[in-house]
Assembly symmetry: C2
Homo-oligomer: 225 residues x 2
DNA sequence: TAGATTGTTAATCGATTAACAATC
DNA sequence: TAGATTGTTAATCGATTAACAATC
């Protein structure tokens, strides 16, 4: 088994994890790939393949041990320890992201928020004081910051990222809408709500007409992984 | 040309759009697929293919008319008119989303925010008063609501969606983390930040070790489209 | 044992990339 | 015309699905 865990597979792991927690809650100790597939509305082959790629084995005739698989996935995803992160940009999006508690559930702890705008510096945002951007590199060097979340305007994104990458930030989660280019070992994840919004807007504009006519059935609904 | 615009292509259109605005700003009237590709760090064949699928024609030897293409894409994506939307769930995530101004840029206007929790009803969230959830269906029936943005807990998502779909909401943007099942013509877009977060956390946990050793070069950085 | 379920290989599907003929 | 760029077809790549042999 030399096959690598693809990004597509990786993105599905949190879904399994959530379902496993629920199954534990319901008192199940074992679950089959067929059951997992049914509840996640996906193909059971894909479930088995995904889980095999994580090197977790099920038992023929029984299925997968719920508790053990949950622990296994948490370990694999590195969710055990909270990773220190900083947030750059205290604008609307930045404040919005600070408020999102899901970060903590998935391994991130925001321990600093920065901006370049003197208007914003010194303000309180969800219990943290906004600091001047130029102080961020020092914190990075001391504090073992592992992730920088970028919520800056698109024009500023690359410059800020370069600055922080120089200071040693190993991973970026980029919400600026400007795709980042950073040298090799740096991890970059570009997030863009407007990508999805475009799909929604397009389908609303173009599918509604035919949707009014019964007999012209569409199915599916979920976006790409 | 019977080929359909795939979801993958659709998701790239906003990127072209953003770049076109920038190019206009820089005073360009025409742009080649090679230039678009270079600035978006993608393959030029893919650019041509995507644009061809939108039924916009370039001129050999010249390229694509920037202004016309911009208008064309905006029309195609239905960004001309703001679509009335409601937000369900005034918790942390809900408040975060209300603050996100990007919605307006991409065709959505939030014109109501609802919750089931008496604690939250009546509060002000970014200039709007949180209303009781049971009043939402009436607004949907009157107001031509086109999108419901779900920021409710995973457990409540399906129930709320059923309620609103019954009232006639044609499209759902679902941030609850619970994949929705809704009958055929209803459009569902499941959004899940923890999918991305999992990728980030995994790569931080597993790539860092080898990243420290030079000679073991990784490239690439962007996630799947 | 018979039967159910896993793990894995082969077949299919879809999306990206490369090549090139058509166009101006 | 020669040359550059589009539009489209063919080749490649990767991910999903189907099939089935191995396992208990």
């Amino acid at each position: 088994m030399t096959t690598e865990l693809s990004t597509a597979s990786l993105r599905r792991l949190p879904r399994y994890l959530r379902l496993l927690v629920q199954l534990l809650d319901e008192g199940h100790h074992f679950v089959t790939s067929a059951e997992l597939a049914r509840r996640l509305a996906m193909d059971e082959s894909l479930v088995r393949r995904d889980l095999a790629l994580t090197h977790f084995s099920g038992k023929p005739r029984v299925g997968f041990a719920v508790e053990a698989l949950k622990t296994h996935l948490e370990d694999l995803l590195g969710l055990g320890t909270l990773k220190p992160a900083i947030l750059i940009g205290a604008g609307r999006l930045g404040q919005a992201l600070t408020a999102y508690r899901g970060f903590t559930e998935y391994g991130l702890r925001i321990c600093g928020i920065f901006d370049i705008d003197p208007e914003k510096i010194g303000r309180e945002v969800h219990g943290m004081t906004v600091q001047p951007l130029w102080t961020a590199p020092a914190l990075v060097r001391e504090g073992r910051i592992q992730v920088a979340i970028l919520a800056v305007p698109a024009e500023a994104a690359q410059e800020v990222a370069d600055l922080l990458a120089d200071a040693g930030v190993p991973a970026f989660w980029n919400f600026s809408g400007h795709p980042l280019h950073l040298p090799a070992p740096v991890i970059v994840l570009n997030e863009d709500l407007s990508d999805s919004l475009a799909v929604l807007s397009f389908r609303l504009t173009h599918e509604r007409a035919s949707a009014a006519c019964p007999g012209d059935a569409h199915d599916d609904a979920a976006p790409m992984a």
